[in-house]
C-alpha cells in the first residue's frame, strides 16, 4: 500500500500525515511535490492541512490551480481514494472536486480543540471500515471551516448519502452547541458523487495515537488501506 501526501509549500500537516501513515500504519508514503505533474504508483492520496500557498486569498483558491491538480483530478476520476483534511478539504471545494464552500468560522476566530463527529456514511473508502452512527473524537484547528452550500445542494447531498461526518456531542447527538464553526447541517465532511473523494475539517492524523488523546482518526486511514487491499490486484475502478 503506497500513500501519496501532497506537499504544498505552505502545508504544515504533511509531515504529520506522513508520520502516521509510515510509523503508525506501516505503509509506504510518497511525498508529492506541488509542482510535480504525475501521480504514479500511488494507491491513495492525502491533501494535508496547512496554508497551501499562504491562503492570503480564499483558503485553497491558489492551490486549486497548482501544477499537480490535473494529475489529482485524473486520479480521482479513475476512482482513486482522496482525503482532503482541513486545508485539503478547502482545496477540494475550490477545485470543485467537492461541492460547497468553507467560510470563516461563525465566531470569526480560529478554533483549536477536540470535537466529536458522527459517521453519517460508510459508502466511502475512508469510512467503509466504520459503522454508521459511530462517534469519533478528533481535533479541529481552523479559521475557515463553516461548511455552506445552497439549500438544494444540501438536500441533494443528504439524499445521496454524501454527508460523511456531522459534528455532534460525545453521545452522538447533533446539537447546536457541538457545532464549532457554524457549518450548515452540522456538516464536518462530505464526499463526491462516486464516494472516493472525501473532505473533512477535523484532523484524523492528530487523533491516531492514544498518547495524543484519541486514536479514532487512525481508523479512517485503516479503512482506506483495507478498501485498497480488497480491490487488489484488479485495477482501481469505481469506488462503490
Amino acid at each position: 500500500m503506497t500513500w501519496g501526501v501532497v506537499v504544498f509549500p505552505g502545508a504544515n500537516c504533511d509531515r504529520d500525515c506522513a508520520h502516521v501513515l509510515r510509523a503508525v500504519l506501516g505503509a509506504d508514503v510518497v511525498e508529492v511535490w506541488h509542482a510535480d505533474r504525475a501521480l504514479d504508483g500511488i494507491d491513495a492520496l492525502v491533501l494535508p492541512g496547512g496554508f497551501s500557498y499562504g491562503d492570503y486569498l480564499r483558503s485553497g483558491a491558489v492551490a486549486a490551480t497548482a501544477a499537480i491538480m490535473p494529475a489529482l483530478r485524473a486520479f480521482a476520476a479513475a476512482g482513486g481514494p482522496v482525503l482532503g483534511i482541513c486545508n485539503g478539504f478547502q482545496i477540494l471545494t475550490e477545485a470543485r472536486l467537492l461541492p460547497g464552500v468553507l467560510m470563516r468560522n461563525r465566531s470569526l476566530r480560529f478554533r483549536c480543540h477536540p470535537v466529536w463527529v458522527r459517521v453519517e456514511s460508510v459508502a466511502t473508502p475512508f469510512t467503509a471500515g466504520l459503522r454508521a452512527g459511530e462517534v469519533l473524537q478528533m481535533p479541529i484547528a481552523h479559521g475557515e471551516g463553516a461548511y455552506l452550500a445552497p439549500p438544494e445542494t444540501l438536500d441533494a447531498l443528504a439524499a445521496a448519502g454524501r454527508i460523511v461526518f456531522r459534528y455532534c456531542d460525545a453521545r452522538g447527538r447533533v446539537v447546536p452547541a457541538a457545532n464549532p464553526n457554524g457549518s450548515a447541517a452540522a456538516i464536518a465532511g462530505v464526499a463526491n458523487a462516486a464516494g472516493n473523494v472525501v473532505g473533512l475539517m477535523p484532523h484524523p492524523e492528530r487523533a491516531s495515537e492514544a498518547l495524543l488523546g484519541s486514536s479514532d482518526g487512525r481508523r479512517l486511514f485503516e479503512s482506506a488501506a483495507a478498501w485498497v487491499a480488497s480491490r487488489r490486484p484488479a485495477a482501481s475502478g469505481a469506488a462503490r
Partner: protein
C-alpha cells in the same frame, strides 16, 4: 564636536557619549552610513549597553550545554543523541503601536533564532501583559496581539503550547509580548553563527529587502511617545508566515547538505547585525555588495538596505563547492538566494554600493557596544511598599471566587483555543496545564516539558525575591509533568535603566534569578533584555522578568494531570516553604491594591520539594499534581477540583494567610492511600514536609478548620468552574 556634527550624530541616533566612543575606536569620524549602523547596533536592543555587565552574573554552565549565550539561542543536550534549542525574546515596543504585526513578527523572529541553531522549531510559548481588560485600549491591544500570534503561529505550523497572560495598570500603554520557541535537533548537528573561511561566499536567502522596520531596534530602545505613534508604525516589521514556513523547510534542507559554515537570522538591525556579528564571532571580515541584495523596490539607499528589518531573511556563509546546490534549495522553495559577499581574512566589514565603499570598519566596533555602569539605588519608598495594607474582613469563600475570576488566575481557554497547539503531533499535554509536554517523535519515549512564568506583583515589591519566585514557580510547573529543568531563558522587561531605582531593580532581579537557578542547578542559556517600557513620561512598568524553563521528560506517558482523579484519593500538601500575604493576589483583590513583601523564597528548600514531586510523578506515586502559586493553597485546591470535576473535603485552618498566602515549593497532590504511603517514605528520606489535607469526594470543596463542624469554605465545583472560566478576551 561641532554643532553640525552633533546634529548629524543625533540624527543617526547616536548620543554624544557614544559618538565620542565610536570616534575613539575608529580613530576618525564615522561617515553617515557608518554612524547609522553604529547607532542601531549600539541601541539598547542590540547592544545590551546597560545590561551586559549585570547579565554575566547569571549561571550559564552545565554539562548539558552545547551552545550558550552569544549564539542565536541556547542548545542543551536532552539525551538519546538529541538536543533542544530554546530562547525567549520580547517584541514589546512594536506590539504597542501595531499589535497584530508587532506580535506576529515577534513569533517569526524567535522561530528564526531557533532555526539558526540548526533546529526544527516545534513549540511556542507566549507571555503577555496588558492593562485591565475592562478598558478599551488594553482590550484592543490584547485582541490585536492574540490575533497576530494566531495569524503567524497557526500558519507557520509551529504549535503554541502554553504561556501566560496577566493584567495590571502599569501595562496600559506598554503591553508586553514575550515569545519563546523550542527547537529540536541532533546533538551532533548544532549550527553556529561564527563566520569562517576567507573566500567563502556569503549567501542571502529568504524574502526580499524592503523599507519596513528600518531602525526598529533603535525604536525599541526608547520610551514610547503617543504623539509619535503614527510615524513609529514605519518602524514595525510586517510578517509573512507563508514565507517563514518556506524558510524553515529550505533552511533545514540546506543544513542537511553539510555545506553551511555559519548561519544567522536577519532580525534587529538586519543585514548589518547579521554580517557584523557573524564576522566578529569568527574573528574574520566580510565584504558585502549591496547591489546584489534582492530588493522589493528600486531606489533604496545603502543605509536602508543595511538596516531594513524586513522579515523572513537569513544570512549564510557556505562553502564554494556547496553554494549552487544550497541556493538551488532555496529557489525551489520559491525564495530569493543570492551571493552578496564573501568572508575575508582582514577583520573589516566592508560595504560596497554602486562600486563605491560606503562603509568600512572593524566588525567588533559594531558587535561590541560599550558597557555602561549606571547608577543603582533602591527606591526611597521600598519599606513603605513592604507594609501590608489594611485588609477588610472578607468571607474566604467569597474571596476564593474573586481570586478564581481574576485574569491572573482564570482559565485562558478563550485565548489558547485561538492558537493551533496540536500541529506537529508532538503535543502530549497542551495549554491549560502547569507545563506543556511535547514528545520527541524521533526518540521515543523522550519528551520535553515547557513552562513560562512571570509575576510583577512579587517583583515590584522585592525584585530579588520576586525573580527567585518566578524561576521556582516555573520549576514547580515542570515538576508536575515529571520534568527535570535543563535550560532557562529569560526576558527581562523593565523601564528605563537610566533611573537609579530602575537599574537597582534590574540588578536585584538578576541576583534573584541566579540564586534560584543555582539551587535548581539549571543554566540560563539565553534570552533578552527590554528596557524603556515607558510611555508618555509615565513611571514605566513594574520590573517584569519572564522566565521560560525547558525540562527533560524521560517518558512522556508518565505525566499526571492537574485535576483530582478518583473519589477517595488522599489530598496532600507537599512542601512547607514560608508563605505570607505580602505581595499576594489576595491582598491585591481584597484591599484593591498590592502591598507587602513576598515571603522568603528559600530556593534550596523549594528545590528539594520540587525534586520530590518530580520523582513522585516519574515513579507513578501520584494521581494528580498542581503547584500553589497565585492565590496560594485555596486556589490550588479549587483548580484541582475544577480540572478534575470532583469535590474535596479538607480539614485546614481558614485564616487568610494560611489559605491564600503565597510561597515557593508547595504542591497540592493526590493519590490512592497506597500511593500515599510510598510518597511518605520518599518525602521522609529527602526531608520534604508532607501534610494530609483531606480526601477527594463529592462535588463541593469544603475546607473545615480543625475542631469545628462548620466549613469556612463550602463551594460547589460548578460555582468555582463558573468563576474560573469567566475570562473573556
Amino acid at each position: 564636536m561641532s554643532a553640525l556634527e552633533a546634529a548629524a550624530a543625533s540624527r543617526a541616533g547616536l548620543s554624544a557619549r557614544d559618538h565620542r566612543e565610536v570616534c575613539a575606536r575608529l580613530g576618525r569620524e564615522p561617515n553617515p552610513v557608518e554612524a547609522r549602523m553604529v547607532a542601531v547596533m549600539w541601541s539598547e536592543h542590540c547592544g545590551y549597553k546597560h545590561s551586559k555587565t549585570a547579565l554575566r552574573r547569571l549561571p550559564g554552565r552545565s554539562p548539558r550545554v552545547l551552545s550558550g549565550p552569544g549564539e542565536n539561542a541556547g542548545v542543551v543536550a536532552l539525551g538519546g543523541g538529541w538536543a533542544l534549542a530554546f530562547k525567549m525574546e520580547s517584541h514589546n515596543h512594536p506590539s504597542a503601536v501595531d499589535p497584530y504585526n508587532g506580535a506576529a513578527t515577534g513569533v517569526g523572529g524567535i522561530i528564526r533564532d531557533i532555526l539558526a541553531m540548526g533546529a526544527r522549531p516545534v513549540a511556542l510559548l507566549d507571555s503577555l501583559r496588558f492593562g485591565p481588560l475592562d478598558e478599551p485600549r488594553p482590550r484592543r491591544l490584547a485582541a490585536g496581539v492574540i490575533a497576530g500570534i494566531a495569524g503567524y503561529g497557526n500558519a507557520i505550523g509551529v504549535p503554541t503550547v502554553g504561556g501566560e497572560l496577566r493584567t495590571a495598570p502599569c501595562y496600559r500603554d506598554t503591553p508586553l509580548v514575550n515569545v519563546a520557541c523550542l527547537g529540536l535537533l541532533r546533538a551532533d548537528r548544532v549550527a553556529t553563527a561564527a563566520a569562517a573561511g576567507p573566500g567563502n561566499p556569503v549567501l542571502y536567502v529568504g524574502a526580499r529587502t524592503g523599507r519596513d522596520g528600518i531602525g526598529g531596534a533603535a525604536f525599541a530602545s526608547t520610551e514610547l511617545d503617543g504623539a509619535r505613534e503614527a510615524t513609529d508604525r514605519a518602524s514595525v516589521q510586517m510578517g509573512d508566515p507563508f514565507t517563514g514556513k518556506l524558510l524553515i523547510e529550505a533552511t533545514l534542507q540546506a543544513l542537511e547538505t553539510g555545506g553551511v559554515v555559519a548561519i544567522q537570522d536577519m532580525g534587529a538591525a538586519g543585514l548589518t547585525c547579521a554580517a557584523s556579528e557573524m564576522a566578529a564571532r569568527g574573528g574574520v571580515g566580510v565584504t558585502l555588495d549591496l547591489d546584489r541584495v534582492p530588493l522589493r523596490e528600486a531606489g533604496m539607499r545603502p543605509e536602508e538596505i543595511l538596516l531594513s528589518e524586513s522579515q523572513e531573511r537569513m544570512l549564510l556563509v557556505v562553502t564554494p563547492a556547496a553554494v549552487d546546490a544550497i541556493a538551488g534549495i532555496f529557489r525551489r522553495w520559491g525564495l530569493a538566494a543570492e551571493v552578496v559577499g564573501e568572508v575575508t581574512a582582514e577583520r573589516r566589514l566592508r560595504v560596497l554600493a554602486a562600486g563605491r565603499v560606503v562603509a568600512d570598519l572593524p566588525p567588533d566596533v559594531l558587535a561590541e557596544a560599550p558597557a555602561y555602569d549606571p547608577a543603582s539605588e533602591p527606591p526611597a519608598d521600598l519599606r513603605e511598599r513592604w507594609r501590608l495594607p489594611q485588609l477588610p474582613k472578607t468571607d474566604p469563600a467569597d474571596a476564593l471566587l474573586r481570586l478564581l475570576a481574576h485574569p491572573d488566575v482564570a482559565s485562558k481557554r478563550a485565548v489558547y483555543e485561538q492558537y493551533d497547539h496540536a500541529v506537529g503531533i508532538r503535543t502530549v499535554v497542551g495549554p491549560g496545564a502547569d507545563a506543556a509536554v511535547l514528545r520527541v517523535l524521533e526518540a521515543p519515549p523522550l519528551g520535553v516539558a515547557l513552562a513560562a512564568d512571570g509575576n510583577a506583583r512579587w517583583c515590584a515589591a522585592d525584585p530579588r525575591r520576586g525573580a527567585a519566585f518566578v524561576v521556582l514557580e516555573a520549576a514547580a510547573n515542570l515538576a508536575c509533568a515529571g520534568a527535570e529543568p535543563v535550560a532557562v531563558t529569560d526576558c527581562l522587561n523593565f523601564g528605563s535603566p537610566e533611573r537609579a531605582a530602575g537599574y537597582w531593580a534590574f540588578v536585584e532581579t538578576i541576583e534573584g534569578i541566579a540564586e534560584a537557578c543555582r539551587a535548581l542547578d539549571v543554566p540560563v542559556v539565553g534570552g533578552n533584555v527590554s528596557f524603556y517600557n515607558e510611555a508618555d513620561g509615565g513611571a514605566g512598568i513594574a520590573p517584569t522578568p519572564v522566565v521560560g524553563l525547558a525540562g527533560a521528560v524521560p517518558d512522556v506517558a508518565r505525566t499526571v494531570p492537574v485535576g483530582f482523579q478518583r473519589d477517595g484519593d488522599v489530598i496532600v500538601l507537599v512542601g512547607d516553604g514560608e508563605t505570607g500575604l505580602g505581595a499576594s493576589l489576595y491582598v491585591q483583590v481584597v484591599a484593591g491594591q498590592a502591598g507587602g513583601r513576598p515571603a522568603d523564597p528559600a530556593p534550596p528548600r523549594a528545590a528539594a520539594a520540587i525534586a520530590c514531586v518530580r520523582d513522585a510523578v516519574r515513579g507513578g506515586l501520584l494521581a494528580s499534581a498542581h503547584d500553589c502559586a497565585d492565590g496560594g493553597l485555596a486556589v490550588a485546591l479549587a483548580e484541582a477540583c475544577v480540572a478534575g470535576a470532583r469535590g474535596a473535603s479538607v480539614t485546614w485552618l481558614a485564616q487568610p494567610d494560611v489559605l491564600f498566602g503565597e510561597g515557593t515549593g508547595r504542591f497540592v497532590v493526590s493519590g490512592s492511600p497506597s500511593q500515599y504511603r510510598a510518597l511518605e517514605a520518599m518525602a521522609r528520606e529527602r526531608r520534604v514536609a508532607l501534610r494530609v489535607l483531606g480526601r477527594v469526594e463529592g462535588d463541593r470543596l469544603r475546607i473545615t478548620p480543625p475542631g469545628t463542624r462548620a466549613p469556612a469554605v463550602d463551594l460547589s465545583v460548578e460555582a468555582m468552574r463558573a468563576a474560573w472560566t469567566s475570562l473573556e478576551v
